[in-house]
């Protein structure tokens, strides 16, 4: 089938496990993890594409793709169900030489060169499905064109003391990049790569082919492709992004990013009608707050029924909070049922689980977040801290 030529297409890397999210990514890839009372992490990148006018998006999946596949579907929530282009889920596949998994981020794109070539784009936007941010990629593209760059990397200022946790770009006065350092001990700048790149497809294509031939390469953008391009002296620029950006790679940062949304002055304004974040919608009536309930400083979604007390928390659709129950500083994922006389603090409660009457999950350690999950096979409820250590197992009696 003939495809219409596109100026730019996006390749969204969504195969990561997110192993530091422990329990949360046991059955789903990191981009499919729930966030913000309604969304999944990948919704931000997909909505950014749609809002930026990029309607051809390849989503590269690998780890636990079931939830992700059913979430993305044909892309209609993001207006990406297009006759020409639209969203395509690209999983590893079998070829004449057998099947192989994606070896790294660069290899994942390499394996799907056929997909990109079909649209013969001038530019390719490489994104990660792991981050929470709102960004207009069309501005990034303009900037890339204005500089006649071969590659442009979006960067964000991070606190100096945290700079050693990121891939850091060292730049000249004209924002051209002269050095890239992965997690430097002594950072020279505090501009961290956001995992958002624009490449000229012709050039990237060549680098991907060469990288694939190099047996010692880890086939990774940050570790191999970008350093190689810099070494070869290509014109590469940093695009400074000014706004909310968060890599929710750990249980704690996921919890924190949810809490950020509750703040009155949060930078990630979800209420801006000109830049909506789209997601697959649940079919639920409005939420109901009963006579005896109190809800303060919280985000609530449709289908919730609240009889107890909810304070400084985020409730996903369909959550039930029973009488005299108290929820504080917590994130409750979809359709969780919290019965009467339950106390929960500083926790993430997983979706579709029931917390029996009288359960108390209280976290006195200010640094720790408890992840409450259910092990259905063994009929127990598990509570883990953010280091993945099991704190307590409760045998469920029905």
């Amino acid at each position: 089938m003939r495809k219409q030529k596109k100026e730019i297409i996006a390749m969204l890397l969504a195969g990561g496990q997110g192993s530091r999210l422990k329990e949360l990514t046991k059955t789903m890839a990191k981009p499919a993890v729930y966030f913000g009372g309604k969304y999944r992490i990948i919704d931000f990148a997909l909505s950014n594409c749609s809002n930026s006018g990029i309607y051809t998006v390849g989503v590269l999946t690998q780890y636990q793709p079931l939830e992700l596949n059913s979430h993305i579907g044909i892309g209609s929530p993001w207006d990406l169900d297009r006759r020409n282009g639209g969203v395509s889920v690209l999983a590893p596949y079998m070829g004449p030489q057998g099947g192989r998994w994606y070896k790294g981020t660069a290899n994942a794109i390499y394996e799907n060169m056929g997909f990109i070539d079909k649209y013969s784009p001038k530019y390719v936007l490489v994104l990660s499905g792991d981050h929470i941010y709102k960004m207009n990629y069309s501005r990034l593209l303009e900037y890339h064109k204005k500089n006649s760059a071969k590659a442009t990397i979006a960067v964000i200022e991070v606190p100096w003391e945290e700079a050693n946790r990121f891939g850091i770009m060292n730049i000249n006065d004209d924002n051209s990049i002269y050095e890239f350092e992965e997690k430097p001990q002594k950072p020279k700048s505090n501009l961290a790569s956001m995992g958002v790149y624009i490449f000229n497809w012709e050039i990237l294509r060549e680098y991907l082919i060469n990288d694939e031939k190099d047996g010692s390469s880890q086939n990774d953008f940050g570790k191999n492709i970008i350093p190689k391009m810099l070494k070869d002296g290509l014109d590469m620029f940093a695009y400074k992004f000014d706004g909310y950006w968060k890599d929710v790679g750990t249980v704690e940062s996921l919890w924190q990013a949810n809490m950020d949304l509750i703040k009155d002055d949060n930078e990630l304004n979800l209420y801006d009608p000109s830049w909506r974040i789209y997601s697959r919608s649940y079919i639920n009536p409005p939420h109901y707050i009963s006579h005896k309930a109190t809800v303060k400083s919280s985000l609530l979604n449709e289908g919730c029924i609240v009889h107890g007390e909810v304070n400084n928390s985020v409730l996903f659709p369909g959550v039930y909070v029973g009488k005299n129950s108290k929820i504080e500083d917590s994130v409750i994922m979809p359709d969780a049922i919290i019965e009467d006389y339950v106390t929960i603090s500083r926790s993430i409660v997983m979706d579709n689980i029931t917390i029996k009457s009288g359960t108390k999950i209280i976290n006195r350690d200010k640094k720790k977040i408890t992840v409450v999950n259910e092990d259905r096979g063994n009929n127990v409820m598990t509570m883990m801290d953010n280091m993945g250590n099991i704190k307590r197992i409760i045998k469920k009696v029905d």
Partner: protein, 372 residues
């Protein structure tokens, strides 16, 4: 249920609900925070597996088209059958005023004729309920009746169904006659104006009526033909409300604050679908105080909300108090306002410090797009 088609007849009496039907039919009045009235009858049909739905309108269909679109949210964007919006056809050579709905059916007779289904379910939009049409149609087939009318026996709050049709039934649930609810008896069999029959019979009734020219309304034609037909009734016992007046509209919203009643309508196996709006979750600020209220997505609530229904993307500012009220989508309420027994239509702006109050029996309605 491939063999059933659905008809939703929106040619409804709007006299007592005029305040809410400027530029919209009753079918698209926002209700319960995130729905439109038609969502309930349309979802009932879709939940029964009906895949061919014709909606007869009286014009004013802009808001209807905006809401229904291609029927995607109801899974009615089908290649075969799907959703059909049947607007009146105006023939300027032959304008008669006050023509009933028969004329609409006549204009679109071909739609009925060419539909392949054998049975038809005809309903209204203003009857809010969650009926299992699969069961009703099976009942219709079992009794061998020509027409089955769905009804609910009402023993409390009879005034909620004033002027609704009532059915006089014999012991075998056969319909003896159809009357009207004047509110003077202890119990009534309220007709939900939902009729099940063979499509061919419906065509017959319409064609006869056009031939004779004696009836303007389909309902009259059906009732008249009942003399020669076997008409049975199917009893429904879930939640029912009739949005025929502003008072009933208000009452329906308020009574569904009762979770047990709402459960009958929403938390059955049969879900209620509506247009998706992609609103973020609702945000409750530090000093809010909300109780006994239904609240849709996308709101920012800083004030006090009590016994109210709040639509999508409503802002309630600091110090504002909203009591026993219905606030439709995208309205905003300024600081230190006090609202009691009020219905705000869409996009209403209330500036700081206003005090508005109506009566429980006569809620104060503020029209769409007003700024006070």
């Amino acid at each position: 249920m491939k063999d059933i088609m659905g008809i939703i007849n929106l040619i409804e009496n709007e006299d007592r609900i005029k305040d809410l039907t400027h530029n919209r039919p009753i079918a698209t009045i926002p209700i319960l925070g995130r729905y439109r009235i038609i969502d309930f009858s349309l979802s009932n049909m879709v939940n029964a597996g009906i895949r061919n739905v014709g909606i007869y309108t009286r014009g004013k269909s802009q808001s209807l088209m905006d809401h229904l679109g291609t029927g995607k949210e109801w899974d009615l964007d089908r290649k075969i059958d799907g959703l059909f919006l049947l607007n009146p056809i105006i023939d300027f050579n032959n304008i008669k005023i006050n023509k009933g709905d028969i004329e609409s059916f006549r204009s679109h007779l071909n739609y009925l004729k060419s539909s392949r289904q054998r049975y038809v379910v005809i309903s209204r939009s203003y009857m809010i309920c969650n009926v299992d049409y699969v069961d009703a149609v099976n009942y219709h087939k079992e009794t061998g009746a020509d027409i089955t009318i769905i009804y609910k026996k009402i023993e409390e709050d009879i005034d909620k169904f004033n002027d609704c049709d009532t059915l006089n039934l014999d012991k075998k649930e056969n319909v003896i006659s159809v009357g009207s609810n004047l509110g003077d008896k202890k119990s009534y069999n309220i007709s939900m104006e939902t009729y099940i029959m063979k499509k061919d019979l419906l065509l017959n009734i319409i064609q006869n009526s056009i031939n004779k020219g004696d009836y303007e309304y389909l309902k009259q034609a059906v009732f008249n033909s009942m003399k020669n037909l076997h008409v049975n009734a199917y009893s429904y016992n879930g939640y029912l409300s009739c949005i025929s007046s502003v008072e009933n509209y208000y009452r329906t919203n308020m009574e569904l604050l009762n979770v047990d009643l709402a459960r009958q309508l929403f938390y059955e196996d049969r879900l209620v679908y509506t247009k998706v709006k992609d609103e973020p979750p609702t945000k409750y600020c530090q000093n809010t105080n909300v109780s006994n209220s239904l609240i849709a997505n996308g709101c920012v609530i800083e004030g006090v909300v009590e016994n109210s229904v709040i639509g999508r993307r409503v802002e309630i500012s600091k110090g504002a108090v909203v009591k026993d009220s219905i606030i439709m989508q995208k309205s905003s309420i300024g600081e230190n306002c006090y609202l009691e027994n009020v219905i705000l239509d869409k996009h209403v702006r209330i500036s700081d410090g206003k005090i508005l109050s109506g009566d429980k029996d006569y809620p104060f309605v503020i029209k769409k797009n007003m700024s006070l």
